[in-house]
Every structure is written in structure tokens, then in C-alpha cells.
């Protein structure tokens, strides 16, 4: 059981950073430059982990990133990797989709508590933007998920995957997929909704006081978190992965789609992004919900 969990964790960490390196490379190419090597994120994280000193603002600041990381790791562990369910299932038999959705909110809470404790006003501004944006993001995603749960008469990810044996949910419930995909972009922090950590505006937002090992932990948990979300989208809408290769293919396709969308758009302000999220994708999701 624990080996499974460990493998899942390592895969998430590896794929997460690999995809992040890929993202930097693709956006570099879009900018017309070569961009760093694929493994650049690994180098950054190891460098940060092995820094000599990092400023620590007290025990809450110390605990904040740890809660954030454990939130991300728990999200990953509760999502089964494969749809035939005997290997790499993680803790999903003990939890269900609603538990996973709420774990996705636990991470930002830990981060918010940690950032709040050092009292840097830029941190507070970043957190406020993050939470308000989260409000906008959650609505379409939750409604889409509710639609799926009602359609499949169960909240267990395994059964949802099993029901997609012949037609994927992306075809069965297209509207729900569109709404979920738009808010999925926001969850990954891609460009139209990346107002939270904007370096120029809010001095890199929540991460303003994260140095050394704290920044390292923040980066690695965001990698694991983005892989978890990728995985969730695959499980819910693309019928889960049959084999490892199928898993990599599906997550990669989804990731590339989100990257290309990300690179095209300018940045929404917080109010604009929540306004957009509460209008367009939520309405699509509600209409989809009616057709379930």
C-alpha cells in the first residue's frame, strides 16, 4: 500500500515538473527564444532546497507551506491513476470526488495562513486575489462535477471512470467539459487567470516572503497539484487511463491544450476574471446540468 502511495507521489512530482519545464519551453518558443532545458524546474527546486539560509517568520510561517504541500499530496493520493483499479489506486476507496474537491481548497488555506503570518501587505494582497479568483473558479467546476455525479448516480471516481467505458464524458456531456476546462485553466494558474502571483503588480503575491526551502516546497507542491488536476480532468472526462502510456498521452494532450490557450490571452484583473467565470462557464455548466 505504502509503495503504491510513494510511486504515485514520485510520478506526480516527476510529471509535474516535466510538464512545467515543457510549459516554459513552449512559451519561450512562442516568444521566439530557445527557453531553458526541460529539466530546468528540477534544477531550480534542488538549488532552492540546498540553499544555505532562508528567513523564517515564526512557527505559523513554517507550518503554512507544509499544510499547502500536504493538501496537494492528499489530492493526488485520493485520485486513482488507472481505471481498472487494482494498481496505483491510492486512498480513493476511502474517499470520493467531494473529498478530493475539498482537498483542492485545503492547499490554498494552508498557504493563506502561512502568508498571513509574516504580515507583508503584498502577501495579503496576493492571498485576497487568490481567494476571490478561487471563488470564481470553483463555481463552474463544481457544477460540472455535480452534473457528472448526478449522471453516474455515484460520487466515486472509480465508478465514474467505469461508466465511461464506451463513450467518454467529453462526448456524453460536452457542455460540462467546456465549463470544467475553463475553470481547469484557472486552477493551473495559466495566463488569463494568473493574476494571483503577478510579479510586477503584487511583488509575486503570496510567495513574497518565501525564500530557500519554503519556495522550493511551494514550487514542488504546485507541480504535484497541477498534475493532480490534470489527472482529475482525465479521470472525469477522458475515461481514465488504461495503461501508463495512455495516462501520459492523455495528460500530455490536455496539458498542451491548456498551455496553448494560456499563451494567447493577456491577464484578467481579479474582478474581470471572477466576473467572466461567474458568467460564461457557470451558465454553460448550468445548461449542461439541465441536460444531464
Amino acid at each position: 500500500m505504502f509503495i503504491d502511495l510513494l510511486i504515485m507521489l514520485v510520478m506526480a512530482y516527476g510529471f509535474g515538473f516535466l510538464y512545467y519545464g515543457l510549459y516554459r519551453n513552449i512559451s519561450a518558443r512562442v516568444h521566439g527564444r530557445f527557453g531553458p532545458s526541460l529539466a530546468q524546474s528540477f534544477y531550480d527546486s534542488i538549488k532552492l532546497f540546498t540553499k544555505d539560509t532562508s528567513t523564517d517568520f515564526g512557527w505559523m510561517f513554517f507550518a503554512g507551506p507544509i499544510i499547502m504541500a500536504s493538501g496537494a499530496i492528499l489530492t493526488v493520493l485520493f485520485i486513482p491513476y488507472f481505471n481498472h483499479g487494482e494498481r496505483l489506486v491510492g486512498l480513493s476507496p476511502y474517499g470520493n470526488l467531494i473529498v478530493v474537491l475539498y482537498f483542492m481548497v485545503l492547499g490554498p488555506l494552508g498557504n493563506a495562513l502561512g502568508v498571513g503570518s509574516h504580515g507583508n501587505p503584498f502577501g495579503a494582497m496576493g492571498i485576497t486575489r487568490g481567494l476571490t479568483r478561487l471563488l470564481g473558479l470553483e463555481m463552474p467546476f463544481y457544477i460540472a462535477v455535480v452534473g457528472l455525479m448526478i449522471a453516474n448516480e455515484s460520487a466515486d471516481i472509480g465508478t465514474i471512470m467505469a461508466n465511461q467505458a464506451e463513450t467518454y464524458n467529453i462526448i456524453a456531456h460536452p457542455l460540462l467539459f467546456i465549463a470544467a476546462f475553463i475553470s481547469f485553466l484557472g486552477f493551473l494558474g495559466k495566463s488569463p487567470f494568473d493574476v494571483v502571483g503577478a510579479p510586477q503588480e503584487v511583488y509575486s503575491g503570496p510567495a513574497v516572503e518565501f525564500g530557500g526551502k519554503f519556495l522550493a516546497l511551494a514550487l514542488s507542491q504546485s507541480a504535484i497539484f497541477s498534475f493532480a488536476k490534470l489527472l482529475l480532468m482525465v479521470d472525469l472526462f477522458l475515461g481514465g487511463a488504461d495503461s501508463l502510456w495512455d495516462l501520459i498521452l492523455k495528460t500530455f494532450v490536455l496539458f498542451v491544450a491548456s498551455v496553448f490557450v494560456g499563451n494567447v490571452y493577456g491577464r484578467f484583473t481579479t474582478a474581470q476574471s471572477v466576473d467572466f467565470l461567474l458568467k460564461v462557464p457557470t451558465v454553460i455548466a448550468i445548461v449542461g446540468l439541465l441536460f444531464v
Partner: protein, 540 residues
Amino acid sequence: MFNFEITALGNMFFGLTVLVFVSLFFVPNKHRSVTLYSLLFASLACIFYASDLITLFIGWEIMGWSSYFLIAKTADKQTLQKYIVFNIGGAFTLLGAIILIYGACGSFVYSELDFSAVPSGQVTAITILLLLTLFVKSGIMPFHYWVVDSYSQSNDLFSAVLSAIISKTGVFAFILIFFQIITVQYLQTPILEVVAWLGVLTSIIATFKAINEDEAKRLLAYSSIAQVGYIVTILSIMGSLSLEAALYHTVIHTFVKLLLFINVAAIIYVSKQHRFSTLGGLLYKYPLNFILLVVGIISLAGMPPLGGFSSKFLIYTALLEEHKGLLLAAVLFSSASAFLYCYKLVYGIYLGQPTNPKTEAYPRIPLRFYVPQILGAVILITLGTIPGVIVPMFNGILGSVGFEPVLYRGVFVLGSDFASFNGGVVIGAFGLIFVLILLFFVRLKNRSVKPKDRLDISYCGEVPRADVNLHYGYGMGRELSRIGLIKMILSRSSHALWQRVSTLFGDLSGITQKLYTLSAQNMGLVIFAFFTILLYMGVK
């Protein structure tokens, strides 16, 4: 006239009351009014254990006016007036309903009331009157006008009692009368559909009002309205799982509000400040208080490791089972944004930079404040780890009210076959992972350096002056009003409605009052005019 009967439903609510009152007994309180508190306690016991409608009503009224006198020590005149008029109005609608039931079934005792022969028009009238009582007591939207002021202006101890117990009497009455007395088959469902939507709208508007609030106790008052709004919504679904979800959420909400109100009371007791804009930066001065508040807001927002999640989970599964997609979407909207005001509560008081530099001058929090908080925290944590522990109790209630019990699969698992989760694994995994990362972090040779002083933060190379107020994070949530949909929600206010009603009555009384200042001669004129009118009517 007083006859009582021990029921499972009564036991649960009375148990909650005993726990709240015993734990609040320790909190230091300026207005030591033991008589009124014992009167309130007796009236609550009378409500929960009544076996006929008259005893229920007597308890209801005594609760109403004894809490009026408890609030009267600190609240200002308008709040008192709003409180008593709404509560007495609620009680009189209850009395009207009881009289209607008496007219229909000829008796007051619960066991003798059977609604088979009663015409449906009368049952609808009874239902509407009772719903009015419930709306006033739990503060559903148009009738919540009195809730926020009374909660925030009563003294800190009593606002905890108000929000933890007294707002639940409405829920108790709903379950008792609609489930046990009138029973489901005679109730018309369209009314309850409207009630469900009213409950959800209340919680949405209350949540966004709470986000906009700058005072701690008013924020908690709005959050109580929102949470009780959930309970009302779930109750009106009328299923066995939804009843269990409502009961579960009642238990959770009682202890969450007990914990939060007393926590805020401790801070107010120590710092004499009510508003977030004057608090802040108390994290390292009162660490235990901070941790307890974090436990409180995690369960208030319904986050996984703690108890709040189990009740939210039950509410979602109940709604999912009944295929109420749109309703669930609305509930999700308000519970997602509930997270914002939870964080605002923590940030406003504890995190960020202190607004007045002399926070060191604040005294130590007396230990007695921690008794109710620790009780609340312990219960919330246990309900987080073993959520199924109180399911047998609820099944007892469901049985006594005529529903078939919910699936009970041991202490750790909670939920129905639609969806269930294992509380132990969730909190165990969270704890284990937290410890693992902590060990990894400590083992790193990365030396952590303490910042020189409070103002040693990276601030574009500058040093913020000591008098610069860095705590402007307290105003979070104000940017929400720039968002179209939320601005529309926030603009709703029932103040104008009730103001028009009171001016209408005022002008009416102005007119009638002039009548009573007639001179003797005009009085004679009126008498003879009245005589001739009646004479004319008689002759015709």
C-alpha cells in the same frame, strides 16, 4: 397544563443545550444574571421535552422574552425593538398555528393529533404560519432584519448562546411539527420547494454580506444566518438522509459557533476592539487562541479533516440523491464563498501587522475562556476523525419521526451508498503527510534565519515606517462588490421594506391619535351622528 415526554429528538437538542450552557458557565461575564439564564434554560428544556403544543408555546414565549431581557443589558433601543417585535410576531404566528390545529383536530397533545380528516386548505394555512415562525427564528431572508444587530450588540457570552442554541429552536419546531405531527403525506410539496429556495437565497446573500462586514461579531451573525439557511434548505427536502444531514449540521454549527463566538469574545475582552481594522497581528501573542480559531474556521468552511466537512458532505449527498442539481449548485456557490469570510475572520484578528503598535500591552486571556473553545474543538476534531459516531443517535430520531434509518457502517465511515468517505483515513493521511514533510524540512541543513524585527519584510528595498498601517488586508472582500453578479446580490436590503412598514403604522397611529383629542362638544356631535346613522340603518 405542563406535561412533558422524553423523546429522542428532545434528548439530542437538550443535550446540545446542556453542553453549551455548562461550558459557557465558565466564561467570565460582566452581566451575571443567573435568574434570567436559568429561566432561559428552563424554557429551552420546556420546548424540547413538551408533549403538547401549549407547553411548547409556553417554553417558546418564555425563551423569547427572557432572552429579550438578557439582550436589553447591552443592545441599543432600535435593536431591542427589532428583536422583540420579530420574536413576539414569530410566537404569535406559532400561537395562531396551534389554535388552527386545535380547531382542526380538537386537542393539543401531540399523540392525539391526526390530520387525515383535515381539509387541505387548513393544513396549508397551518404550514404557512409555522413556516413564518421558523423563518423569524432562524433568520431567513426577509425576516433576518433583527438577527445581525441582536447577535452583535448582545454581550459576548449571550451572542454565543443566541447563535448556538436559540437559532436551533426553529429547526426543532420544523422537525417536530412537520415530520412528527403533520407527517409528510399531508404536507403539500410546492410550499417546501419554495422554502428550500428561500433558505439557499438567504445563505447566499448572508454569505456575501458577511464577506463585506468589518466587525467580527456581525460577520459571525451573518454566517449563522447562512448556516441555518443550509439547515432549512436540507430540511425542506423531506428525505431521511436530508433529515440526518440537517441534524448533523445542527450539531456541527452549534459547536462551531460556540467556539468562534467565545474566541472573538476573548479577543474583545482583551483588546476592547471589535473591528478588524483595529485588530491584527495577535498571532504570536495568543497562539492557542489562534489555533482554536483555525480549527473553528476549518470546520465552518467545511474543510475535510474536521467535522464541518462531514455535515457539508451529508448535505451534498442528500441533495445529489434527490437529483436537485440547481439547488446544489446554489448551495455550492454560497459554501464556496463562505471560505472567504472564514479567512477574513482569521486574517482580520490574528494575521497581518498589528494596527496599534502596543499589542504587547494587552493582558493575558483568562484561562476560563478556553473551556468552551476546547470543548468545541475536541468535538469538531472527533467528528472529523470518527464522523459515524453519532449516526446511531440520528437513526433513533429518524425512527421516532417515522423515517427509515440511514445506512450505518461503523464509526469511521459516513454517508450513504451514493457516496461515503472514511474520516479516519482522511485525517490520518493528512497528519501522517504533515509529519513526514515536517521531518524532511527539519532535516534539511538549510539554516533558518530570524528577521531582524517586525518591519524587516521585503518591501522593494524600503523600510515601512512604524506608523504606516500595513494591516490593510482586513478590507479583503470589498473588491467583490466590483463584480456584477455579487454587486446585485449585495444591493438587496430588507431595511427599506421594514422601514416602510413601521412608518405606515406610525402614520396610522398619528391619525387615530388625533381622534382621541376631541373636545367634549365634538364628542357630542360624534355621538349624535352615530345615533342618527344607526337609526337610519335600522329604518332601512
